[in-house]
C-alpha cells in the first residue's frame, strides 16, 4: 500500500526554488533514506508531506488524503531536526513528554491508566523505561532522541519521519539507535522515512533511497543505488561513505 504519494511537487521560498517536480511514492514497510547536500530540500520535502508547508505546485497524499485533511494525525510519527535542542530547564518528566503526543487530541490534563501503560510500552520499545520519571533536560542527547522516538511511537503510527536524528550523538549511541530503528522496521513493520547526510547509515540500514538536490536525482532500492551514477558521483565528491556488506 502507498502511504505517501507526491506528484509534481514544487516549492519555493520567496521565489527561490527549493524543490522542483518531485514524484515520489513511499510504500508500507519501506525504510527510506532521503539524502542530499545541505539546502537540497530534504527537510522541506518532509514538511510538505506532513502538511507543515504548502507546495507551490503539485499534489500530496498522506495515508490516502491531502495532509491538511488528514483526520488521524496520530498515525503519523515525527521527530523534527534539532529535536534535542530543547529548553534544558523545561519542567517535564520523560513520561510527560511521551504522553504529550497521546493527549494532544484530548481534553485531558494527565494520562489515565491506559495511556500511562501505552507511554511505558513506548519507552520500553526504545529501551528508556527506567528513565520514565527523569526530567527530560537531564538526559543525554542520545537518550533524549530515544524519548522523542518513544513520543512518536506512543500513538502507534503507521509511518515515522525522522529528520537527522543522530546529529551530535556519539558513534556508539548512533549504532544502538539505528539497530533500534531496524527492529521497529523489520519486527514491527513500521514504515520509516529518515533524512540523513550519512551514506554509511544508508548502506547499513535502509531498504530504499531518495537522493534529492532540488530535483529527485534517484529513487529506488538500496542495492541499485549502490550501483548508480548518483552514488558514484557522491563517492567521487568525497561524501561521507562507509562500505557495509549485506
Amino acid at each position: 500500500m502507498d502511504l505517501v504519494v507526491l506528484r509534481g511537487v514544487s516549492f519555493s521560498y520567496d521565489g527561490f526554488p527549493v524543490l522542483t517536480g518531485i514524484d515520489l511514492v513511499i510504500k508500507e514497510g519501506d525504510f527510506l533514506a532521503i539524502i542530499g547536500p545541505n539546502g537540497s530540500g530534504k527537510t522541506t520535502l518532509v514538511k510538505i508531506i506532513l502538511g507543515l508547508l504548502t507546495p507551490t505546485a503539485g499534489r500530496v497524499e498522506l495515508l490516502g488524503a491531502p495532509p491538511a485533511d488528514l483526520a488521524e494525525r496520530s498515525r503519523i510519527g515525527y521527530v523534527p531536526q534539532k529535536a534535542t535542542h530543547i529548553d534544558p530547564f523545561f519542567p517535564a518528566s520523560v513520561e510527560e513528554v511521551v504522553g504529550m503526543a497521546l493527549l494532544a487530541g484530548r481534553p485531558r490534563v494527565a494520562p489515565g491508566r491506559d495511556s500511562r501503560a501505552r507511554v511505558l510500552r513506548a519507552l520500553e520499545a526504545v529501551g528508556m523505561a527506567e528513565y520514565s520519571r527523569w526530567p527530560i533536560g537531564r538526559l543525554s542527547g542520545g537518550q533524549q532522541q530515544r524519548a522523542f522516538i518513544a513520543r512518536s511511537l506512543v500513538t502507534s503510527p503507521r509511518i515515522l519521519f525522522l529528520d537527522e536524528p543522530t546529529t551530535g550523538v556519539d558513534a556508539e549511541t548512533q549504532t544502538a539507535f539505528y539497530d533500534m530503528l531496524d527492529r521497529l522496521n523489520r519486527r514491527d513493520k513500521l514504515t520509516i522515512v529518515l533524512i540523513t547526510h550519512d551514506i554509511g547509515i544508508v548502506n547499513k540500514h535502509v531498504t530504499s533511497v531518495a537522493c534529492l538536490n532540488e530535483r529527485l536525482a534517484y529513487h529506488g532500492s538500496h542495492a541499485e543505488f549502490c550501483r548508480s551514477d548518483v552514488f558514484r558521483a557522491m563517492v567521487e565528491r568525497g561524501d561521507h561513505v562507509i562500505s557495509h556488506e549485506h
Binding site: 517535564a92 481534553p107 485531558r108
Partner: protein, 273 residues
C-alpha cells in the same frame, strides 16, 4: 482575624484574589516557558487605556478595559503574523499606544485622577460586588478553557513543530493564550494594580519553575505560591496597614527567592526528583 473575615469587603477581596492568583499562575507558566513573560506587562499597559476610556465614558472601567485588552491581544497576534514582527515588538507597539491613549484621556477629563490611581496601584479591598461577580465568572471561564486545552498548550510550549505535525492548531491557541492573558490581567488590576499585576503572572510561575521537576509539579507549585502571596499579602496589609498590592508582590518575590535557595541547595544532580 476570624472577626475580620466576616466583613463582606474582605470576603470579596479574598475570593476574587484567590481565583485570579490561580489563573495568573497557570497562564504565567506557559508564558514564561514560551519566553513571552513580558506580555503581561504589555497587556497591563494597554488595559490602562481601557480603564481611562471607561472612566471617560462613565461605563464600568473593568468592562471597558476587558474590551480594549482583548481587542489589543487579537491585534498583536494579527500584527505579528501579517507584518512578520516578533511578539515582543508587536506588544511593545501596542503597549506604548495604550499608555499614550490613557494619559491623553486622563488629561482631557482631569476629574478622575483619584479613581485612576486605584487602578494603577490596585485596591483589593475596594472591589465592588459587581466586579467580584465579573471576576469570579471570567476567571472560572479562563481556568476552564486552559484545562480544556491544557495538553495541547503543554505540547506546543515544549515542541511547537512536533505539536503542529500532531495536528495541534498552534496559531489558534497562540491567540487564545493571548486573549486569556488579557482577560486575566484586566481582572487582576484591582488586586495588584496596572503597574504590578504582571508580577502575579511572572513571579509565582518563576518560583514554581525553580523547584519543580515535572510540568504538573510546576503548575501546583506556581498556584501555591500565587495563592499564598495573595492571602498572605492581604493579611500583612491589614496587620501593618500597608498597600495590599505591594505586600502581595513582595511576598511573591520572597517566595521566588526561597525557591531559588531550595534549588541551589539541591544542586544539579542526575535522576528523578
Amino acid at each position: 482575624m476570624q472577626t475580620l473575615l466576616t466583613y463582606g469587603f474582605l470576603q470579596r477581596g479574598l475570593a476574587a484574589g484567590v481565583l485570579i492568583a490561580v489563573a495568573c499562575a497557570v497562564l504565567g507558566l506557559f508564558l514564561i516557558l514560551r519566553k513571552d513573560a513580558m506580555i503581561g506587562h504589555g497587556l497591563a499597559h494597554i488595559s490602562f487605556a481601557g480603564v481611562a476610556l471607561g472612566l471617560f465614558l462613565r461605563v464600568l472601567p473593568l468592562a471597558a478595559a476587558l474590551v480594549v485588552a482583548v481587542a489589543a491581544a487579537v491585534a498583536v497576534m494579527r500584527l505579528k503574523d501579517r507584518a512578520g514582527l516578533h511578539g515582543d515588538t508587536a506588544i511593545g507597539i501596542f503597549s506604548s499606544l495604550g499608555l499614550a491613549v490613557g494619559v491623553l484621556l486622563a488629561s482631557l477629563a482631569r476629574s478622575f485622577n483619584v479613581e485612576l490611581m486605584s487602578y494603577l496601584f490596585g485596591d483589593i479591598l475596594a472591589i465592588e460586588p459587581v466586579e467580584v461577580v465579573l471576576t469570579l465568572v471570567l476567571a472560572a471561564a479562563v481556568l476552564a478553557t486552559v484545562r480544556l486545552n491544557y495538553a495541547k498548550l503543554q505540547y506546543m510550549t515544549f515542541d511547537r513543530e512536533s505539536a503542529r505535525a500532531a495536528g495541534v492548531p498552534v496559531g489558534r491557541l497562540d491567540t487564545l493564550l493571548m486573549v486569556l492573558t488579557a482577560v486575566t490581567i484586566v481582572l487582576g488590576m484591582k488586586i495588584a494594580g496596572i503597574l504590578l499585576v504582571a508580577a502575579l503572572i511572572v513571579v509565582p510561575s518563576a518560583a514554581g519553575l525553580q523547584v519543580a521537576a515535572s510540568f504538573r509539579g510546576a503548575v501546583g507549585a506556581s498556584i501555591a505560591v500565587a495563592v499564598l502571596a495573595v492571602v498572605g499579602g492581604l493579611a500583612v496589609s491589614i496587620a501593618l496597614n500597608i498597600p495590599a498590592s505591594a505586600a502581595i508582590v513582595i511576598l511573591c518575590f520572597l517566595a521566588f527567592a526561597a525557591a531559588s535557595v531550595v534549588k541551589r541547595g539541591r544542586g544539579i544532580r542526575p535522576g528523578p526528583r
